[in-house]
Every structure is written in structure tokens, then in C-alpha cells.
């Protein structure tokens, strides 16, 4: 049973809060490098307020090898990388996601590697500071790590 990308993507959009596209910012501080095979992937962006309440801001389709996204600096966001697959003949759909809180700093850029291959997926984020600072791997933080 081969995954059917069109169905997977439709299912994924349906799952993304009515399929709202993320209203991007002109300054692209997040560069997503996506290697996706056998699935459809989107990035869901949520703003996180001081009470740790989420506001969904929309999704970005990760349908190109490199996708540049502008996320407001100096705030905490909740990023949801979601992968959807489906099989036409089995009538089976599935989606799985990787989520993290991310505090984006002004001047820094974020290099995000997203892979889905042979039914294995991975997301890794590196923070690249302005003016040649030390690059660091960003630890994934679940929503429960947010403290009001």
C-alpha cells in the first residue's frame, strides 16, 4: 500500500485548525531544510503568551527542500512539525508530530532539519547567533515546560 500524498496533505490541512496559512513575516529567521519522502509535512505555528496559553497562527507547508519562515523574535512560540501519511486502498490515515517550545532571539537565525524517510522522522533545530556567536543545538521542550 503506497501512501497517497494528496490525501495525506488534505488530512493534514484538515487537522491544522481549519487550514489557516501562517501569515509570514518579511524577516525570515527560521530556515527549514526538509527531506520528506512518503509523507506530507507541515509546520504549525502557535504563539505562547505569559500564561502559557496557545494561539494558533497557522501552518506552513514543508513542500520545498528549503522553506524560509519569519517568526516574531523575542517571544516564545510552540512549533508543531506534523507528518501525515495515508494509504488509499486501506482507507487508513495517520499523522504523527514532533513539538517544541522555541524562544526566538532577536538577531539569531534557526536552522531546522526535518526529515521523513523510510517511515522514520526527525527534527533538529540549531540556533545560530548573530555576529558569529556559538551555534547551539536547541533542546526540545514540551508544552508542559512552559511556566506562567
Amino acid at each position: 500500500m503506497r501512501p497517497t500524498p494528496a490525501l495525506g496533505f488534505a488530512a493534514l490541512l484538515a487537522a491544522c485548525a481549519a487550514g489557516t496559512r501562517y501569515a509570514d513575516l518579511p524577516e525570515k529567521n527560521v530556515v527549514v531544510r526538509a527531506e520528506i519522502s512518503g509523507a506530507q509535512a507541515v509546520l504549525g505555528v502557535h504563539a505562547v503568551d505569559a500564561q502559557c496559553k496557545l494561539t494558533y497562527e497557522g501552518f506552513v507547508a514543508l513542500d520545498q527542500p528549503v522553506v524560509r519562515v519569519g517568526i516574531p523574535a523575542d517571544r516564545t512560540s510552540y512549533l508543531v512539525f506534523e507528518f501525515a501519511t495515508s494509504s488509499f486502498w486501506g482507507g487508513r490515515r495517520g499523522s504523527i508530530s514532533r513539538e517544541t517550545l522555541l524562544r526566538t532571539r532577536a538577531g539569531s537565525t534557526y536552522d531546522v532539519r526535518v526529515t521523513y524517510k523510510d517511515d522514520l522522522y526527525d527534527v533538529a533545530i540549531r540556533e545560530i547567533p548573530a555576529r558569529g556567536g556559538r551555534v547551539r543545538d536547541v533542546e526540545f521542550a514540551p508544552l508542559r515546560a512552559c511556566k506562567p
Binding site: R93, L120, D122
Partner: protein, 170 residues
């Protein structure tokens, strides 16, 4: 279809025909080999047991602590199954273990008393097999869980840190 297959396999594995359900990883090690649709695989990796254990410790909680909801539909049938997985890693310098338990929350009835976190699905052991080499043994279902086996092998040999797409189980 695949969910039904997974259900059947799991039921056969865990309910068994005559034997009680393993309540610990040790009981699973003793009872599972030789059971219907259970596979024991062994292989060696060019890494120390400590490195294998570290990979398990880093990846298993992130990748395998999940609750998966799958829906399957076919003419005349519609099935929703919700399943929670719980990994446990026990690692030291000379031994690394990864246990994976599976608990059905919806859609599948547990026909026999199972451990609180669900029945044992996989028990993986890594032990020293020479200088810088570890022997890895995977005891688990022979069908339906290829994606889990693929990920565990990749973590063990260090070739990938990717998480298995648990929606592909079955």
C-alpha cells in the same frame, strides 16, 4: 486492515493460548521466544554497550512515549484504535535494555490481566561482544512492527536517530 492485523498479532502475542501474560521484562524474555508470531533477532554493532544505551536513553523517551490513534475504514466497517506506548531504558556500562509496553486505550479489549502500563511488546538487550562491539537482541512481534525494529536497529548501530512513525504499526 493493517490495524486489524496488528490487533490480531497483539492479541495472539499477549493473550496467548494457554500461558499467562508476562508481567515483567524478565518473564517476557523467558516466555516470548518460541511463542507464535514472536521473533528473536540478534546482531552485532561496532559500538560499545554504553553508546548503545546512550542512544536508547536519548531517543526512546522522545520517540516511543506516544499515544497513537488510528482509523481504518473499509466497506461496512470503521475502526478506531487508540494505543499508548511506554518505553523503559535501563542502561549501565555493561548492559543496556529497552522495554516497550503497549496499552490499548480504545478499540481493543484486553482479554487477560496485563501490567499497568500495558503488555510487553519488545524487550531489547545489548551486551558486550568484544572490544567496542555490542551484541543486540530484539525480542518482539514477527510482523506488523517493522518500523519499530528499523528504528531500534538504527539507534543501536548509530546510523540514524530518527523516530519511527508509530502510525505505520500494524
Amino acid at each position: 486492515m493493517r490495524s486489524k492485523l496488528a490487533w490480531s498479532i497483539t492479541t495472539l502475542l499477549t493473550a496467548g493460548c494457554a500461558s499467562p501474560m508476562p508481567q515483567t521484562a524478565d518473564e517476557f524474555r523467558q516466555m516470548a521466544p518460541g511463542a507464535f508470531m514472536v521473533q528473536v533477532q540478534s546482531f552485532e554493532v561496532k559500538r560499545t554497550v554504553r553508546e548503545v544505551g546512550e542512544s536508547f536513553r536519548r531517543r526512546a523517551p522522545e520517540c516511543l512515549s506516544v499515544t497513537i490513534r488510528t482509523t481504518s475504514s473499509a466497506p461496512g466497517s470503521y475502526q478506531v484504535i487508540e494505543t499508548r506506548y511506554k518505553p523503559t531504558v535501563v542502561a549501565s556500562a555493561d548492559r543496556a535494555e529497552l522495554h516497550l509496553q503497549q496499552k490499548h486505550l480504545k478499540g481493543v479489549l484486553a482479554v487477560r490481566k496485563e501490567p499497568e502500563d500495558g503488555h510487553y511488546l519488545f524487550v531489547i538487550d545489548a551486551t558486550p561482544a568484544g572490544r567496542g562491539v555490542a551484541k543486540v537482541q530484539i525480542i518482539g512481534p514477527s510482523r506488523g512492527y517493522d518500523v519499530v525494529v528499523k528504528a531500534i536497529k538504527a539507534w543501536a548501530d548509530g546510523s540514524s536517530a530518527g523516530c519511527p512513525d508509530m502510525t505505520k504499526i500494524g
